[in-house]
């Protein structure tokens, strides 16, 4: 009985199915659950709402991977296929009460492995959110708010991205009750790949969702900049040469001016005499041509001519062709100087338009990405071994693999087991919460059976993976092909000592 025992009778006249999991025989509408909250109607299919998730390797046939989606697959375990038991659904206490952790023995490539699976309650946890944008989202250390409550702060800017810190114990339990609740809600939603609207003090309004483009100030951010303004000049100088007498690449970090820039001089371009605002760094490279904002190239500029400080009549000439463009190619304008040396808007020549579009083409899609970061300490380790420090050491020596929902994690150097995981590599709906408030996340420790004995593991509690297959609420998901197989054998203690 690998999956649901209950059968659903679909009613084609409506969207109602009748559940026969118990004598109440609830009729359940699409998207709703029955009286028990355990069974629901998902697109006309009676579905267990709190599944215990295992992941299975994709079948290989004639040397090709066969995705489960192409088979008629009822979600049951495929006998013989490599199976990894995740912590998802293993230890939550409502509505079922499940003993945690499970300790599961399995064989992978002929080697006996043990996986200790658990759902851990993390008060000490947070999210690192990377937002691919050059637009100004807010000053460093500014408060990140959801529904008015501070849930985190702006941290460093990275090349082409802005980092946010969201969550953490100080917001979860260190502030007001409402701050804790909103923080928990925000972390849960972001971790489960839902969209969250946030505002930053002195900055922008954002909509952030893992794996999706960010929305900044109501505008969908589609592309990362190809580089700073100076880098853009360097990449495209040759392609502009002969088509424009001056190109100004507007960027919040470094605005590039082609004829002054090393690249323009290399092409023997004549100085055009256009002086941009801001502080000159090196020839043709300017800092702070405008304030940060959501306009051109991450500045507050909406009319690009406003960044031109003056035009030198001794150098400029009537008929000078000027291209102004942002570092993503999203904003561009073409001007020709009139007899009074005033820039007049003109139609963009096709050859320049091609290069503007090429800037866009060379920008990577902008995404928000969410990394869950938490410390697996204290009593959690006691569920694995009677001697918790040995688990920590075993992880350090790479004898024990740590995964979250089967997804690979990065374990920080130094003390404890502080891990980071990309939430999009985990199965959907991996995260939960408790009213403390704190986040519940799956965690698995996988090691060789003989090593498990050596670190003081609970050998008498080990169950065979076949026994897990008898759990009623089992749900099988396809193993994420982007990541390494979580159940692969590890080196032995002896090998590591050599």
């Amino acid at each position: 009985m690998p999956d649901d025992s209950a059968q659903a009778a679909p009613n084609p006249a409506t969207d109602i199915i009748t559940c026969d999991a118990c004598p109440v025989l609830c009729r359940i509408r699409a998207g709703r659950t029955g009286a028990c909250d355990r069974y629901g109607n998902l697109d006309g299919v009676l579905t267990r709402m709190d599944p215990f998730v295992v992941t299975q390797k994709v079948a290989e046939r004639d040397g090709e991977l066969v995705p489960f989606g192409e088979q008629v697959w009822d979600g049951s375990l495929i006998s013989g296929a490599p199976t990894f038991v995740t912590g998802i659904g293993s230890g939550t206490t409502y509505p079922d009460y499940k003993p945690a952790p499970f300790i599961v023995a399995s064989e992978h490539d002929g080697i006996d492995m043990v996986t200790v699976v658990s759902e851990a309650i993390f008060s000490y946890c947070g999210l690192k959110v990377k937002i691919d944008t050059d637009r100004f989202v807010g000053p460093e250390t500014a408060a990140v708010r959801v529904a008015g409550e501070q849930v985190g702060h702006v941290t460093t800017a990275e090349y082409g991205s802005q980092m946010l810190s969201v969550g953490g114990v100080r917001h979860l339990t260190g502030g007001s009750k409402r701050e804790g609740t909103v923080t928990c809600d925000t972390m849960l939603a972001l971790s489960n790949r839902e969209a969250i609207e946030m505002t930053i003090d002195g900055g922008a309004e954002l909509t952030v969702q893992a794996g999706k483009p960010p929305v900044i100030g109501g505008k969908l951010e589609e592309r990362m900049r190809v580089g700073c303004g100076s880098a853009t000049i360097g990449i495209f100088a040759k392609q502009w040469h002969g088509e424009a007498d001056e190109v100004i690449v507007v960027d919040d970090h470094i605005t590039g001016v082609l004829s002054e820039h090393q690249a323009g001089r290399f092409l023997d371009m004549k100085p055009a005499g256009l002086r941009v605002r801001g502080r000159r760094s090196t020839p043709g490279r300017y800092f702070q041509v405008a304030e940060p904002g959501t306009g051109w190239g991450g500045t507050d500029v909406t009319d690009p001519l406003t960044i031109i400080d003056k035009i030198d009549p001794k150098k400029a000439w009537p008929g000078l062709r000027l291209l102004m463009v942002s570092t993503t190619g999203e904003d561009a304008a073409f001007f020709v100087l009139d007899d009074d040396l005033e820039p007049q808007p003109a139609e963009m020549p096709d050859k320049l338009q091609v290069v503007v579009e090429r800037i866009g083409e060379n920008c990577e899609p902008a995404l928000s990405t969410v990394i869950f970061m938490a410390g697996a300490g204290g009593s959690l380790r006691a569920g694995v071994t009677e001697n918790p420090v040995r688990l920590t050491r075993s992880v350090r020596q790479a004898l024990t693999r740590v995964t979250c929902g089967g997804a690979p994690v990065y374990v920080w150097p130094g003390g404890g087991i502080t891990l980071m995981v990309d939430v999009t590599t985990m199965p959907e709906g991996s995260f939960g919460y408790v009213p403390t408030p704190a986040i519940v996340a799956p965690i698995e420790f996988t090691l060789r059976l003989d090593d498990y004995g050596k670190i003081g593991g609970h050998l008498n509690a080990v169950r065979k993976v076949e026994e897990i297959a008898g759990i009623e609420r089992l749900k099988t998901v396809r193993w994420h092909a982007r990541t390494d197989w979580p159940g692969a054998p590890l080196k032995t203690d002896r090998e590591s000592a050599e």
Binding site: Q7, I16, C22, P23, L25, C26, P95, P99, P435
Partner: protein, 284 residues
């Protein structure tokens, strides 16, 4: 295929968990091991048939209670009818007391002829208590809210008439006509507390653009509430609106307390709480 009732010992090694369909009970008996083991065994025997008994007369249990005694045959069903009868001037069906009545029934089987210090049966937040003389029990108060949170506690002494605690609200498992996040009631039995919490939660109400409702049957085709509008979303309300809605519920609770139907009540809406202040202590 219908799954049979199941029972388990919780990880703490003390509490028992019984589950059948929508019923989830957590039970604990305090006393000598021989006594508690027998108590759990008796509780299980009683529990095994409870859902089938109720399912057999569901149509009558979903019909409104009127002045005339409803035609109910099973002992749990009759207890539901009895708990609802004093409230027949409002719309109410015996289902409003189902969770509490099941808790009372299993508690009675568990404690009958046993030497126990105390015991409880918690049916998804609706709790039946047994206390020997001098015993007391402290229970946490969970406000349902956007996410449930611990908000206070109630200490019930043996000398108090309270043997039942129940919580209701639109965010809970059952549908509600009102907008209370959470109403917790202390009464003589869990069934009486259950129906009172349901009706007080219904009374915490007002018309406001922030409140969205839908016919109950559009959500759950078999709901005893039929075409009545139930709350599906409550956006942020202005402070004076919260105050008004809570005042309406509190008035309802006061009338029930005067009639001797309840001992105490605590009402919560968007971070504000009101109570009769008899037993419940807010931690907020």
């Amino acid at each position: 295929m219908s799954a049979p009732p199941s029972h388990a010992i919780l990880p703490d090694g003390r509490r028992r968990h019984f589950q059948h369909g929508p019923i989830d009970l957590v039970l604990e008996a305090f006393g000598a091991a021989r006594e508690t083991e027998t108590a759990y065994a008796r509780a299980w025997t009683r529990f095994e048939t409870v859902l089938d008994e109720l399912a057999a007369e569901l149509p009558a249990l979903r019909a409104p209670v009127t002045e005339a005694a409803p035609a109910l045959s099973g002992p749990v069903a009759r207890a539901m009818g009895r708990a609802c009868a004093p409230h027949h001037d409002s719309f109410v069906t015996p289902m409003a007391a189902v969770a509490g009545a099941v808790a009372d029934t299993v508690l009675a089987a568990m404690t009958e002829a046993r030497e126990l210090e105390k015991a409880y049966v918690n049916n998804g937040g609706d709790i039946a208590l047994f206390l020997s003389p001098d015993a007391s029990l402290t229970t946490g108060l969970v406000t349902l809210g956007a996410r449930p949170s611990f908000d206070g506690f109630a200490r019930v002494e043996a000398a108090s008439p309270v043997r039942g605690i129940a919580t209701s609200g639109w965010r809970g498992r059952s549908l509600s006509l009102g907008i209370a996040d959470s109403v917790t009631v202390l009464a003589r039995t869990a069934a009486e507390a259950d129906v009172a919490a349901t009706l007080i939660a219904n009374a915490v109400d007002l018309d406001d653009p922030a409140v969205r409702r839908q016919p109950a049957r559009d959500l759950a085709p078999d709901s005893d509430l039929g075409a009545r509008l139930v709350t599906v979303e409550v956006d942020a309300l202005a402070p004076d609106r919260i105050d008004l809605a809570l005042a309406r519920g509190l008035e309802r609770a006061r009338v029930m307390a005067r009639r001797g139907l309840i001992v105490d009540a605590c009402l919560a809406l968007q971070g504000e709480t009101r109570g009769l202040g008899q037993v419940l202590v807010s931690a907020a």
